[in-house]
Symmetry: C3
Subunit: 266 residues, 3 copies
Amino acid sequence: MAMKHLISIDDAQINLLLNRASLIENKKIYLDHSRKILCNLFYEPSTRTSSSFASAMYKLGGKVISINDVNYSSVAKGENLEDTIRTMGTFCDAIVLRSRTAGEAARAAFVSEVPVINAGDGNGEHPTQTLADLYTIHKEFERLDNLTVTFVGDIENGRTVHSLDKALPDCEKHFIDTFDKSIWPASDVYYLTRVQKERGSEGSYRMRKEHIQHIPENAIVMHPFPRNEEIPTWFDNDPRARYFQQMRNGLIMRMAVLADIFSNEK
Amino acid sequence: MAMKHLISIDDAQINLLLNRASLIENKKIYLDHSRKILCNLFYEPSTRTSSSFASAMYKLGGKVISINDVNYSSVAKGENLEDTIRTMGTFCDAIVLRSRTAGEAARAAFVSEVPVINAGDGNGEHPTQTLADLYTIHKEFERLDNLTVTFVGDIENGRTVHSLDKALPDCEKHFIDTFDKSIWPASDVYYLTRVQKERGSEGSYRMRKEHIQHIPENAIVMHPFPRNEEIPTWFDNDPRARYFQQMRNGLIMRMAVLADIFSNEK
Amino acid sequence: MAMKHLISIDDAQINLLLNRASLIENKKIYLDHSRKILCNLFYEPSTRTSSSFASAMYKLGGKVISINDVNYSSVAKGENLEDTIRTMGTFCDAIVLRSRTAGEAARAAFVSEVPVINAGDGNGEHPTQTLADLYTIHKEFERLDNLTVTFVGDIENGRTVHSLDKALPDCEKHFIDTFDKSIWPASDVYYLTRVQKERGSEGSYRMRKEHIQHIPENAIVMHPFPRNEEIPTWFDNDPRARYFQQMRNGLIMRMAVLADIFSNEK
């Protein structure tokens, strides 16, 4: 049974999606949804996420209607979220929704006649990011348990950190909210996130040589991007860097999610 | 003979388009215009109309270039409408034009080498909206004459009201520019439109129970959307509500219009 | 050997591209790149250029992700050009880049894993405009040497003028930076460009009857558009006017460039 909506990571059958993503990546299945239309409905702009979904849909053969800043567009002119969702649902086969407030994706799904995929609802969830992260880890270690994961950066406000933490219940986790601490615990995964520069001096938000020398050889370094100075660009060619692959994995996982959702239809 | 341009409802062969829309809706014809490119050229944003045309074009297999706010884009940098039209006509097979001033769509058609579809020219016309309205009424009553139609809302400034009124010469019409009047005349169609809130207190712009109890069982309630408070959301599930269907009919009618226009070519 | 990137006109095999454009225009070859995705990444808006590339890509059967004002979009949020390029390169098969500063296209190509096409980098180059100009001249005269070319308008700041000048080493060239001079030298090509109105009175930026009467019968008048008052609209139907054809040639040349770049892949 495929998903109807993807609002929370709890809606996702993770193993099924990891497997499907792997089949797609290794070209073991060919998908064609050339008569399907996806709507990217973004109440705040996120070119990265919007482009990733657009590319995923195109790679499935489909079409995309992109509304990249609903607030400045007429669809929202005195209109409640529910009417906008039902309107756009008339024109497309699935809606990718980026909204400003936690819970709005669930509200949208409640009235929508087409599947809704949550692409971030304020400080709520962003399940396809979490799935991309899980796929990246699983490709590396062939499991999602018995791993040590160290989160570094803005732990408190990090939506991606909270969601990934929740999705890895059987791992050992460390949380470090500063780059000042020069020794990071030995881990399989280092998950760095953006730090607001307003919180202090610039230098302290950068992964430095003294951190890197403690990162084990077989560990991986992830970052949901965009980055500020957390990771110096000279590290990009380090064999432990996985953030660009992580982005590519996000694309493949979004293909898997869309294919799953479209497979639902008779 | 198909239309060259669709500037005014007078350009449309209404019966032919109603028939073609019905064939499309009932999947009696399959259309493929996969090598055609449509340009949405919007001098003021209207995501709803733009998305409806984009979806229609995609469902015909075609491609879409969307320019959603020409005023902020470089195409208009010191450029007159005619040059912009001739430029965009170089890149596409038809232009959907939303402009600010009545008569601009006709000016565009005059110089354009590709068909121009008027998607609203200021307080002029918006013929595909009118065609969508006619299709909605025709689907319900199987005729466009000998019906009673009551227009409620902003009658004076309502472009959609004027156009639909003109397109229904053989119907009996009532015009009510307030929601305060608690008894509405018995009618087949109630066509509500948005009221500017600036004109008075909020409460008076809402269809209330005392209105609804006088709406006959077989009547339909339409609204070109977006709505403010004119129609309470609890009415959405009422069997007389037709505004979401009206939106879907708009999509089908736009497919019919595009197919008609493309059939013109050798 | 096809191009990897197109940053400067020096990267282009001009004869090969002129020939390929001609084959495309005369429908001697049919190209299908329906699984390819192009990204229009515009750091400043240019609807004309963006639409021309989108149309070219659509005519090759492909798909387009359009980011029309990166500065206002989240992709650039504290992100350097290199990260944005590598991010977008994850989602597409080629990037068309419009940037603000000379040299940025080369910087982008340096890190990009997909081909980069320079669609104007500040006062640097805009090679597909130059190729479109060359194609227009070549179609007319069947050669690119032994021609007399007169440039009129903003010579000093005209990126298109500099590039075309450089690309026609074996022609005789005249440069006129005012419209006041009433006699223009006899030439094969008159290449007019936009003049900033701030530089003086309006009247002096218009091609007038006394200029036109000296333009030989077999000469052509070009303009990269948009125009202000440099060319009066009544001249549009003159048999010597080539600026609308020039725009159409730009579309065909962009098809040739994209096809060349995609032919590079195994």
